[in-house]
């Protein structure tokens, strides 16, 4: 009997406004406790909320990006409950009429493409933080986070299994950063997901009883938690027990979910429209202004990158895989397009740039724990390097050597360091990492000169080497002649070794074959 895992996600994206959703206090992360809590945030008697238009604008941006309906009139409601880090004793949220209704996201798992429907997205304020450690039996309250604007994005239970759930979460994570509404920082809690998980037998149309899993603060934990939870539910049902609707907490240390509270404990939040805030009204003109300012969206760009290459079209004929990798963020896409713009039109160059960015650049970024926006090798520099491959100056292997030199390793004090100017060959190389007006081609070429890396493409020089190799290895030549193709590679290797790798491998191949045929 096989099972189907059904997942829906609720995501809280912290909106990137400078001030809070209902007060003028700063939303910057990491300030000393309670230094960014205004009279409104600490809920002094007599204070009132005033809605931050920037938060609404970001909600509209999101709604348009997922093809949702923007409610022309939505209502803020109070969600009433007592907790020490909830200063008013209620959270201002949207309940019956959210600002964003419907919409969808396209996800890909392997070669399968799937549309995940969104239920809604609504604006609300975050609570403060309760600090239970360091206070010797007491609890500290930090209200800096209280009133931080959140967009709660609720999906339909359209995902089947942890892979789809993670694909959705990643897609959403990319999108909110892409459209500039959220910094996506999961460590700081700017992007938080809860998963509603249920299981049912394949073929069943009715949804099983769900459990909500909290504390999924990385994609890896999300995947593990969903898998654990689904296993737990399946085992329970197979043992003849039933699933109790409840909220469960994921413990990454033990890789398990534990009950937090059951539905019976669920509080009655006594939602009612907040009388301090008139209904939020959004004009068509406002929606159109926001639409006009939206960047090209990842899905559109993904499709465009795959379209057949044509002059000046910014279409590149890439594979779906390449297009997906290069639209992982707006910065990735810009890096790619800037590289191609500097390199030249044509599917050959697009493929070359794509392959280098997905391969070498990504690997180097991972090694040095940098974001692509901070890559020490600029798109223009990369383009110059790729030109040297294209014109035969460098072999692929040599180019990687030059690339590694161009890549300024981060200094001892960590990432995002300004390149130093003290290293030898790197003296000028370092500067190439800074986006600016440098003629970076000089730098690439200087490295090639300095390292003596220029490829040997002179036919007579290569012929001489090949002659030497044939003369010195009669046994291997004989093997080749008896039909062992492997022996040929051995001879190429000898020729490359003799030139310390600088001979143009293509030319070595051709000349060697010619000479062997004649000999």
């Amino acid at each position: 009997m096989s099972w189907e895992i059904v997942v829906g996600l609720e995501t809280h994206a912290q909106l990137s406004t400078a001030s809070k959703i209902f007060s003028a206090a700063s939303t910057a992360f990491g300030a000393a406790p309670n230094t960014q809590a205004s009279a409104v945030d600490i809920a002094l008697p007599g204070v009132l909320p005033v809605l931050n238009e920037g938060a609404v604008e970001r909600a509209i941006r999101f709604g348009l990006a997922v093809g949702a309906t923007i409610s022309r009139r939505s209502v803020f409601a109070r969600k009433n409950y007592f907790y020490p880090d909830l200063p008013k004793g209620y959270q201002i949220s949207q309940y019956e009429i959210p600002v964003v209704q419907g919409g969808s996201l396209t996800i890909r798992v392997g070669d399968t493409e799937k549309t995940v429907r969104l239920t809604r997205a609504h604006l609300e304020e975050d609570a403060g933080k309760s600090l239970h450690e360091d206070f010797h039996g007491m609890t500290g309250i930090d209200l800096n986070r209280a009133g931080t604007p959140l967009l709660e994005i609720v999906s339909e239970p359209d995902m089947r299994g942890s892979e789809e759930a993670v694909a959705y979460a990643r897609k959403l994570h990319t999108l909110v950063q892409w459209i500039g509404i959220c910094d996506g920082n999961m460590q700081e809690g700017s992007f938080r997901c809860d998963a509603n998980v249920s299981v049912r037998r394949v073929g069943d149309t009715k949804l099983g009883t769900r459990c909500e899993i909290k504390n999924l603060n990385s994609f890896r934990f999300m995947q593990q938690a969903i898998e654990f939870e689904a296993r737990r539910q399946i085992e329970a049902i197979e043992d003849g027990r039933s699933i109790v609707q409840e909220t469960r907490l994921y413990d990454p240390d033990r890789n398990e979910t534990r009950p937090m509270r059951s539905k019976e404990d669920a509080q009655d939040y006594r939602y009612f429209p907040d009388p301090d805030l008139p209904p939020l009204s959004i004009s068509d003109a406002w929606v159109e202004r926001v639409r006009g300012a939206l960047p090209e969206l990842p899905e559109a760009m993904h499709a465009r990158f795959q379209k057949p290459c044509a002059a000046d079209s910014r279409q590149y004929g890439l594979s779906a895989y390449e297009a997906a990798a290069l639209t992982a963020s707006r910065e990735h896409a810009a890096y790619f397009e800037d590289t191609v713009a500097a390199l030249g039109a044509g599917v050959k160059y697009a493929k070359m740039a794509a392959s280098w960015i997905i391969g070498e650049v990504s690997a180097a970024l991972n090694r040095s724990d940098l974001h692509i926006a901070d890559a020490p090798v600029s798109p223009a520099t990369l383009a110059t390097l790729l030109k040297r491959i294209d014109d035969g100056t460098l072999s692929g292997k040599m180019a990687k050597d030059v690339f590694d030199t161009l890549w300024q390793p981060p200094s001892a004090d960590g990432r995002r360091t300004k390149p130093s100017t003290s290293s030898t060959a790197g003296g000028e190389v370092a500067l190439s990492g800074q986006i600016g007006s440098f003629t970076t081609s000089m730098t690439v070429d200087q490295i090639i000169e300095a390292k003596g890396l220029r490829q040997i493409s002179d036919t007579s020089a290569i012929e001489a080497v090949v002659d030497q190799v044939i003369a010195a290895n009669p046994a291997i030549v004989a093997e080749f002649k008896s039909g062992k193709e492997k022996a040929f590679n051995s001879l190429v290797g000898q020729a490359m070794k003799a030139t310390r790798g600088k001979a143009n491998p293509g030319q070595v191949n051709t000349i060697l074959r010619e000479k062997l045929a004649k000999s």
Binding site: G46, V47, L48, P87, G89
Partner: protein, 486 residues
């Protein structure tokens, strides 16, 4: 001097026959003399007041001449006053010092008014008699055995007892107009949104509105001109051009159509109150007004609607008083819930608890539609009644309250009877329209009767105009209680 109106005092200050320091000193002395008997003030700021008076005199000397410059005022203790204790009449905030000024407080200070102190009130403005105050009842200056009305009872008694020429109140369900009526003075609730609620400790956010108390309509106009104005910190504050409420006071009443709802003059109303109202109407008809009989069929539902909506909002608004950040916290407790329960059980009085419980109930899952939603629907029906009525008439008049001031303790054990006292005033809070109470005579016991004048949205100037014209041909507002300290 203390019998003078703001307009008269202002003229004396302008003529330099009186200084604000002299006036403020006299006011403070009167407060000291009367307060032990009336309990109208919870806090008196003598030194700060004299400093402000000195500053006002200096502004006069420098050539400034505002009508409120140097005039003493008392604020209801629900309005935040920077550096001054603001209790809301509750043990919960018995020691709470406000860190900022309410918008209306700041505006009156900017106009040069001298804040002499904070007045007693029903706890968190929940009450119609000032008997729910943690700091004891306020006595009615006309008869200290009786209540001054509520919830702004301290402010009304203070103005009636000539302790201060002007005071602020707040009106959620008649809390300015009913005490004005019981205390024989004028009190105006403006259109919802005319005065900012920023710094007014919320009772029921969709109903709360601050307004002035004074002895004449002319004075109320001066005070309202200072209090009103847009405030970006209150999303329900209306952004409209500043209005001079004093500009149209003398407009003749010829052509004025006064609507008299039969619901306001039928059963359940004290005979003497009804007679005084008819006499007042006759006086206005003699000034050229005409009477239109109208009907407000849904107004009878005002009290039940109010006692769903106001407690619902209050139950949420008062959640912030949890003992965590400020206000009363129980001395000992075992855990978080115990701290909440004890702090709130000790900090709130019986009437506040009753309303929190009622409000929590009507918002609860399964009851919301039957109570809260239904009440909001009826609220709209009541507003439609008034909309229709204002097609037939310019203003609506009737008694402010069905009786004159009752005796202290008389209604405390019968909340429904107490609530019915607000039957005529509550509709203006539900619709948001402006309404005023002015003195129109006395009953056989010598207790004042109030005439309520209601108008359509933003008709404050018209209401004040009619009240002023009435006060030119009557002298009820000139009467003062017997036995005041000299």
């Amino acid at each position: 001097m203390l019998d003078s109106t703001i307009a008269e005092l202002s003229a004396a200050l302008t003529a330099r026959s009186l200084s604000s320091v002299e006036l403020t000193s006299a006011v403070l002395d009167r407060i000291d003399a009367e307060n032990p008997r009336l309990n109208a003030f919870l806090t008196v700021e003598r030194e700060a007041a004299l400093e402000q008076a000195k500053a006002a005199d200096a502004r006069r000397a420098a050539g400034e001449n505002g009508p409120l410059l140097g005039i003493p005022v008392a604020h209801k203790d629900i309005l935040m006053t920077a550096g001054v204790r603001t209790t809301c009449g509750s043990r919960m905030l018995a020691n709470f010092v406000a860190p900022y000024d309410a918008h209306v407080v700041a505006r009156m200070a900017a106009a040069g008014m001298v804040m002499v102190g904070k007045t007693n009130m029903d706890e968190f403005a929940m009450g119609s008699s000032n008997e729910t105050s943690h700091f004891g009842p306020v006595m009615n200056p006309w008869d200290v055995e009786r209540v001054p009305g509520g919830s702004s009872g301290g402010s009304a008694a203070a103005v009636a007892a000539r302790m201060v020429p002007a005071a602020t109140g707040t009106d959620t369900g008649g809390s300015i107009r009913q005490p004005a009526a019981f205390s024989g003075i004028c009190g105006l609730k403006p259109t919802y949104g005319v005065c900012s609620r920023y710094g007014l400790v919320a009772f029921a956010s969709s109903l709360d509105q601050a307004g002035p108390f004074a002895r004449t309509a002319e004075d109320c106009a001066l005070l309202l001109s200072a209090m009103a104005g847009h405030d970006a910190r209150d999303s329900t504050s209306l952004d409209r051009a500043a209005e001079d409420y004093s500009g149209d006071l003398e407009r003749p009443l010829k052509g004025l159509r006064i609507g008299v709802p039969h619901e306001y003059v039928s059963q359940g109303i004290d005979d003497e109150v009804t007679r005084r109202i008819y006499e007042a109407l006759e006086a206005l008809l003699r000034l050229g007004a005409t009477r239109v009989d109208i009907s407000l069929p849904n107004v009878k539902l005002s009290v039940p609607v109010y006692y769903v909506i106001a407690p619902a909002e209050a139950s949420s608004n008062l959640s912030r008083f949890d003992g965590v950040r400020y206000g009363h916290r129980a001395e000992s407790y075992t855990d978080l819930n115990d701290m909440y329960q004890k702090s709130r059980a000790e900090g709130f009085g019986g009437e506040v608890k009753r309303r929190i419980l009622t409000g929590t109930y009507v918002l609860s899952h399964g009851y919301y539609d039957a109570y809260y939603l239904k009440a909001q629907q009826v609220r709209r029906l009541i507003a439609e009644d008034f909309k229709r009525a204002y097609e037939q008439c310019d203003l609506i008049m009737g008694p402010t309250a069905p009786t004159t001031a009752f005796r202290i303790g008389e209604n405390v054990n019968d909340p429904v009877k107490m609530y019915l006292n607000d039957i005529f005033t509550i509709a203006a809070n539900l619709t948001g329209g402006p309404a005023m109470s002015i003195p129109c005579g006395f009953d056989a016991d010598g207790m004042p009767v109030g005439l309520q004048i209601q108008g359509n949205y933003f008709q404050e100037a018209r209401i004040l105009n009619v009240a002023h014209c009435y006060q030119q041909v009557t002298d009820w507002h000139r009467r003062s209680p017997q036995g005041l300290a000299s």
